[in-house]
């Protein structure tokens, strides 16, 4: 075992820190907090201009690209700085999938727009009837009969839940059911769809955690076949690529670090830091943060070494989100009434964490689903659902 940080990774960390210090303003952070839209076009385009989106993630069969460990550090630093990075994460993820699976059309039409920061992507997996059970997607895509000379067209009807940032996105990656008569994993097809196609509409959904997400409706949307990603009825294979690509690299599991840092500062100012019971609880949070950091690093390291982190991602996500909830509840107690207040200048971050933390045990796979994965794939227990 060797815990010495890789020099190239640390260099990249210094670079992103420098970039953030130069480009991220308090205004951007505050606007994201207020609107719940964790994307900022100015910041996003400035980052895209550095080439970081175009570089993408290194992987098997891909020339160039960033070490997954570097990207892990990248999102970690963005998270710690409260930078609005959801658009960036979605887009890098979808760009990665497009690179691997996309047709020449996708590569020419979409990829450069992602790379230049002109367009971002939203994820269209979940539906009202399928959350944990993603493969139960019911949004229909039917091939429309017509002149066989013409390009086939798919008629899409249905709705997608939790399409975060679709209101800013140029494209949505869309899991559809193309054959309802076979086992659920086998009748799916994936598309990458421009959001301005006629028949697509969306509605804002506000969340307790302060994020804005959306429901996206598809009403007789005519999607030309060139927008298809992967094989017909091969949607689950694309899904697996997307999940593997994402696993443990994109996103930020260290919310407890920001919370502890802010709370410690507040408690020092108010004198709460002199209370031994408060100190003890903060020390526990610090331990959880250390463990979370190590568990979160592991899938990135595995990906960096060319491996496929499977249960390690589940383990990190489960631990991180449960620990964040423990920390949030403890801070809520310790701050007392002051922690209930929600405006900047107050101990708003306590209120925010208390509302935000429960969300993290749900999205990206509930804690129950993560435990299922761990039970089955790490402990070798029988499948139980």
């Amino acid at each position: 075992m060797d815990f010495r940080p890789k020099e190239s990774v640390e260099e990249f960390r210094r670079w992103i820190r420098g970039f953030v210090a130069e480009h991220l303003t308090e205004d951007m952070i505050e606007r994201a907090r207020r609107t719940g839209t964790f994307h900022d076009w100015g910041f996003h385009r400035a980052l895209a201009a550095t080439g970081v989106i175009a570089e993408g993630m290194a992987g098997p069969g891909r020339a160039g690209g960033r070490d997954p460990l570097e990207l892990y550090v990248f999102f970690d630093e963005l998270g710690l700085a409260d930078a609005p990075f959801y658009g960036l994460a979605n887009t890098m993820l979808v760009a990665g999938v497009v690179e691997q699976i996309g047709s020449a059309f996708h590569l020419a039409e979409v990829l450069p727009r992602f790379h230049r920061g002109e367009a971002i992507a939203a994820l269209g997996y979940s539906e009202p009837g399928s959350g944990s059970d993603v493969a139960a997607a019911a949004t229909r895509a039917e091939r429309v009969p017509g002149d066989p000379e013409d390009e086939p067209v798919w008629l899409v009807n249905g709705q997608k839940m939790f399409t975060t940032l679709v209101h800013e996105a140029g494209y949505v990656i869309l899991l559809t059911r193309t054959d309802p008569d076979v086992a659920k994993h086998r009748g799916l097809t994936m598309f990458l769809v421009p959001t301005d196609l006629p028949g697509i509409s969306f509605q804002a959904v506000e969340t307790m955690g302060g994020d804005r997400t959306n429901i996206t409706y598809f009403a007789d949307v005519r999607v030309p076949d060139r927008w298809r990603l992967g094989e017909v009825h091969g949607g689950w294979d694309v899904m697996k690529v997307a999940l593997a690509y994402e696993r443990g690299v994109f996103g930020n599991m260290n919310q407890g670090v920001s919370l502890l840092r802010r709370f410690t500062r507040w408690a020092t100012e108010t004198g709460a830091m002199d209370d031994t019971a408060v100190r003890k609880r903060l020390a526990r949070i610090a331990i959880d943060n250390e463990i979370t950091a190590l568990l979160a690093l592991r899938p990135a390291l595995i990906a960096s070494a060319g491996g496929l982190p499977t249960t390690e991602g589940s383990i990190a996500k489960l631990y991180a989100s449960e620990a964040y909830n423990r920390a949030a509840e403890a801070c809520l107690d310790m701050a007392g009434p002051e922690g209930l207040l929600g405006e900047p200048g107050d101990a708003w971050f306590v209120d925010h964490a208390a509302r935000d933390a429960p969300v993290t045990t749900i999205y990206g796979g509930t804690s129950e689903i993560q435990r299922n994965n761990i039970a089955e794939h790490r402990l070798g227990l029988p499948r139980s659902r």
Binding site: G131, A277, L332, P337, L340, E343, P358, E368
Partner: protein
């Protein structure tokens, strides 16, 4: 000995239940945000004589604590946006003040500053945003102060009508209710009264949150069956039942002891019930939100309203750790004591 409500109590409960179900659908709760006060609902409660219930019979009240907690339980179930715990607890101290009649008929709202003032300022008084009369421990005096309700509250977790209130301004009237040790003692009793009522409110809140979660898990299907059929969900829900029944019984016992004239035991049990209810309401609403999945955290769903109030309502008192320590002093004697 009987742990079930009497026939009279059942009648009281079902009257309140019917009232709140009719008059306080969740739309009322939502419409009352961010202030957390529904003036119309308060007027309807006043028309029923509720604001005076905690006062003696000849002042327009005469309800037992056993009845009051039934009221508050039902109010908690619907998240009624009216400062009942605050008003009822504070009202007991206002009997010999010029505002007694107004407090009894609900034209005046009373609120208790739970923590001592600092330079005359009571911080984040529950109900303080809408209260006409504030009762506070201001240095060595317990005072009641008539002032103007700010009718605005800082943005807060529970959308509760909190406000800072200055209690040294006597332009509206200021009555010293007690001084010195007597003031401290009566303020402590006021806190315990508020804790008892809040425990009952949180019990109702948690009960309803659990019901919602059960209903949702029976309706929501994943992997071909209701998620409530999965043991992973069932075990997490079943675990909530004992603690919930426990706080209901403990709160009732605290109320009964108060009614029976055993204030020391009643006070101790009220603190216990408050601490237990605070924890149970948090655990219950956490799981209730969780088992609602992605929907549970959208503002469209009602369960997040329960989640936020479960935390925001009791925490105005401060870190529960301090209450545990005070309870320990009560149970085991002060440190170094005999």
């Amino acid at each position: 000995m009987d742990l079930e409500p009497t026939e009279d109590q059942k009648a009281v409960r079902s009257a309140f239940s019917e009232f709140f179900t009719d008059r306080c659908p969740i739309s009322v709760v939502r419409a009352a945000e961010p202030l957390g006060f529904a003036a119309d609902l308060w007027r309807r409660l006043a028309a029923m004589g509720v604001p005076g219930m905690a006062l003696p019979e000849d002042a327009g009240g005469g309800a037992s604590r056993a009845d009051l907690i039934l009221l508050l339980h039902e109010a908690g179930r619907v998240l009624a946006p009216v400062p009942l715990s605050a008003h009822l607890a504070a009202s007991r101290l206002l009997l010999d003040t010029p505002w007694c009649a107004g407090v009894a008929d609900g034209t005046l709202i009373a609120a208790p500053a739970l923590r001592p003032t600092v330079d005359g300022l009571a911080r984040l008084v529950p109900g303080g945003a809408v209260a006409d009369v504030v009762v506070a421990l201001d240095e060595d005096e317990l005072v009641a102060v008539r002032g103007e309700a700010p009718m605005t509250a800082p943005v807060n977790h529970a959308a509760a009508p909190l406000a800072d209130r200055y209690v040294r301004d006597d332009r509206g009237g200021r009555v010293v209710l007690a001084r010195g040790e007597d003031a401290a003692r009566r303020h402590a009793a006021l806190r315990r009264e508020w804790q008892l009522y809040t425990a009952a409110t949180l019990t109702g809140l948690a009960e309803r949150a659990l019901e919602s979660a059960v209903a949702y898990t029976l309706e929501r299907e994943q992997f071909g069956k209701p998620i409530g059929a999965f043991q992973a969900v069932q075990q997490g829900l079943a675990d909530l039942v004992g603690p919930l029944d426990g706080i209901r019984l403990l709160t009732a016992r605290a109320a009964w002891c108060a009614d029976e004239g055993d204030p020391a035991e009643a006070g101790r049990l009220a603190v216990m019930a408050f601490l237990a209810a605070t924890e149970v309401a948090r655990t219950t609403t956490y799981r209730a939100v969780h088992f609602h999945g992605g929907y549970g955290v959208t503002l469209e769903y009602d369960i997040q309203l329960y989640f936020r109030r479960a935390r925001g309502w009791p925490l105005v008192l401060g870190d529960p750790d301090e209450e545990y320590r005070a309870l320990a002093d009560d149970l085991f004697g002060a440190v170094g004591g005999v």
